[in-house]
Symmetry: C2
Subunit: 451 residues, 2 copies
């Protein structure tokens, strides 16, 4: 049995030992018995430098299969060390959409040589794939699928199939087309298999079936395939002609990548960042987010500095002000995460945005009320000043209420301007909750606590 789920932790340990001893003789042989996705995982579990040592010993016909399973940054680094000859062999094992992806991250000097090696049909398929933007259905569609005419019999279809050496992977349906290649139905294999031999395809084909257009957004195709539990869906162009199909395995990858992107974006990271990237690119990739945070923190500092005279008189304010800011920050980020998820799942749109904002305003006020009482009492007990307790309670209430509003409005606004909310919302939100927190707390203190 090829792939059972017995743990293979030993292989990673072996490789780590080999790296330490700089002895790679056995490793390549062992890797050769692994599935390409496992090789990709192993390579991504070791430092980039060591990957290159192993990479040279991996057989060229597997290199393409391994590369498409890796993070973009990790794949890029290995492509720089892959000869054009190896790459040509590696690409020959891939679909047009995977070839297009790898060539898009291949060093410029290698690409012409690779393109020259391809035959005309291959190049045409590749160019067709590259003609679509990355987030459209056409970019990842397969062009190998089976078609039949509606007037033939089930038996004729079976005989037609038997003339093939191989049927395309993930084929769960045969496309039924007319003479102009217009899609008029689909014949599921499971229908074909139970059909009487003399039945006409037209009589057993599905004429109610899912279909997408080549320019549909991949996110929408993913929702369709996921919601309808499909294996494959035909793709038509604007003239209603059949041009390809999208299969669930590509959609699984898309769903994983989208989720990954959202997670990384929320921390200001790029989804192509690699766990064992060298230090210098790591520092550079984290720079923008830290720079934005510095701006946000300096805005907060400026707000605080306006209240220097108050802080000089009442040092308790300096002690408590992080509490006000952080409670608003957490409350806001909870609302924001809910909104970002709602947008991604299609539950939150412009038409029902007001409903969410109203609800989050109510939740923010309820939370604000509850926590302002708790924190007000704690502060009173700590500093034994009733007025300080009231001031911090008021500031907490105001900040948590505004956090609920900002946490719902900021992602919605960004989405309306077609900016990915996961990428930009966290910093906007932090700035709002920090500034409002410091401003209300120190402002109220200046108004009511100074003697």
């Amino acid at each position: 049995m090829d792939a059972s789920l017995e743990e293979k932790p030993d292989l990673l340990v072996d490789i780590l030992n080999a790296i330490e001893l700089e002895d790679f003789v056995d490793i390549a042989e062992k890797l050769d018995q692994e599935h390409q996705s496992d090789i990709a995982t192993l390579l991504q579990s070791i430092p980039q430098k060591s990957r290159l040592d192993i990479w040279t010993d991996i057989l060229p016909d597997r290199k393409g299969l391994v590369l498409v399973e890796m993070n973009e940054d990790a794949a890029k680094a290995l492509l720089e060390e892959t000869s054009a000859d190896d790459l040509i062999i590696g690409l020959s094992e891939l679909d047009a959409d995977e070839q297009a992806y790898l060539l898009s991250i291949t060093p410029d000097e290698t690409v012409p040589q690779v393109l020259t090696s391809m035959d005309q049909q291959q190049r045409a398929l590749l160019e067709q794939s590259l003609s679509y933007p990355e987030d459209q259905a056409g970019r990842i569609m397969d062009t190998d699928f089976l078609t039949v005419r509606p007037q033939v019999t089930a038996d004729a279809v079976l005989r037609f199939l038997r003339r093939h050496d191989e049927i395309p992977e993930h084929t769960d349906l045969i496309m039924v087309v007319d003479v102009r290649y217009k899609l008029i139905g689909v014949l599921p294999i499971r229908t074909l298999l139970v059909a009487q031999p003399s039945t006409i395809v037209f009589d057993i084909m599905d004429d109610e079936y899912a279909v997408v257009s080549d320019i549909d957004a991949l996110d929408d195709v993913a929702k369709l395939i996921e919601g309808h539990d499909l294996i494959s869906v035909p793709v038509i162009n604007e003239e209603n002609k059949l041009v390809g199909r999208i299969t669930v395995d590509d959609i699984v990858d898309h769903i994983k990548e989208s989720a990954d992107k959202k997670l990384m974006s929320l921390a200001g990271l790029d989804e192509d960042d690699d766990l064992f990237e060298p230090v210098r690119p790591s520092v550079l990739s984290r720079l923008p987010w830290l720079a934005i945070n510095l701006c946000s923190a300096l805005i907060s500092a400026t707000v605080i500095s306006q209240f220097s005279p108050t802080l000089e008189q009442i040092v308790a304010l300096a002690i408590l002000m992080p509490v006000v800011a952080s409670m608003g920050g957490i409350a806001g980020s909870q609302t924001m995460t809910l909104a970002i998820r709602g947008i991604a799942l299609g539950h939150l749109q412009n038409s029902n945005a007001k409903l969410l904002i109203n609800k989050e305003l109510a939740v923010g006020m309820a939370n604000g009320l509850m926590w302002s009482i708790i924190i007000g009492i704690i502060s009173y007990l700590w500093f034994n000043q009733i007025k300080l307790g009231i001031v911090i309670a008021a500031a907490i209430f105001i900040n948590m209420t505004i956090a609920g509003l900002a946490g719902s409005i900021i992602p919605l606004m960004l989405n309306r301007f077609n900016i990915d909310p996961a990428l930009a919302a966290p910093m906007f939100l932090t700035t709002v909750t920090d500034v409002i927190g410091f401003l209300t707390f120190l402002g109220l203190a200046t108004a009511f606590l100074l003697t």
Copy 2:
């Protein structure tokens, strides 16, 4: 064509209008033409109260299909308003694993009546499914699949299939078993379709194929199906007997739910939380995280309070201290996100943990050095005190270095103790970076700036 990707925003607008006018006559009829996943999405896009108004008009045989597509909290609320009779009809459209899930969230008083309505075989399947923990393969496996013996011919298999009214959905392979129901191979449909009629199954079956055990972790099954681009994988028990199969559609749902869970956990939310949950449960579900944050913030406040005399003398410290804490917080959360993702993807394990910690220590120091210079200069220019610039630079360097360590070590430690890092790491990390930030900045200031 049933499902094309033309936008249907009008339906949500129609429903929102109907809710406002409390007029639901047309809505049920319109919904009836939609796919169950679209109905689930629409219901989750409106407030919970309004869902109940629409729910009564949805046909009982679709209720089960819709419920399994919804968030757990949202489904629970609707199940409370679903009669046992409707639920019995709804469940009859579902697989055993889906029935098990819905019954696990059905109100206790309804369950006995539903169970009584089932025949013995149905109940046995349901009990088998419920006997596995939620995160094991057995819980979501299908028990309807096709089996053949190895010694029959391809033609005999085709004739055997033709005797079925229907072939189970997502059937891409036929299991080849011996007399004891031990799995000895799989016959892909795509092989069967091109085989010569007289060929023996044994000669064309795959004997190198993916297989999982019924007690394997679902996460591992998902990685296998995703990495190997499978449609289905056979499930065997500890006696090597075939007990079921897992299909890619269930894995797609699992992958989406896992990603969703990670996103929500990072904000201290439950993945079953519902966008339009009423205010009271929303407040309760967000309480633990806010309470933990309050503890963390009070620890920080206690640290700050130790330096009251220093703060009284130098108010600039109160102004700048959020900068030190927040730079460490962001640097730490970037490392933490990378580590959490690495653990989830299988790139980060105990054996290579040290490599990551070393790298993140180096990145933290490099980042710390760069940002300490920038922030030191800004602070010097702002307050015109060279010593203040040096003190904040040193504090930033120390805090960002420790943030790199904590950001990698905390998720790794939690994972080793089998605690989900996404759930617990953020708060631990915030506490560390806040405390270290305030402690080093105010501590160094007390040592070097007081006159």
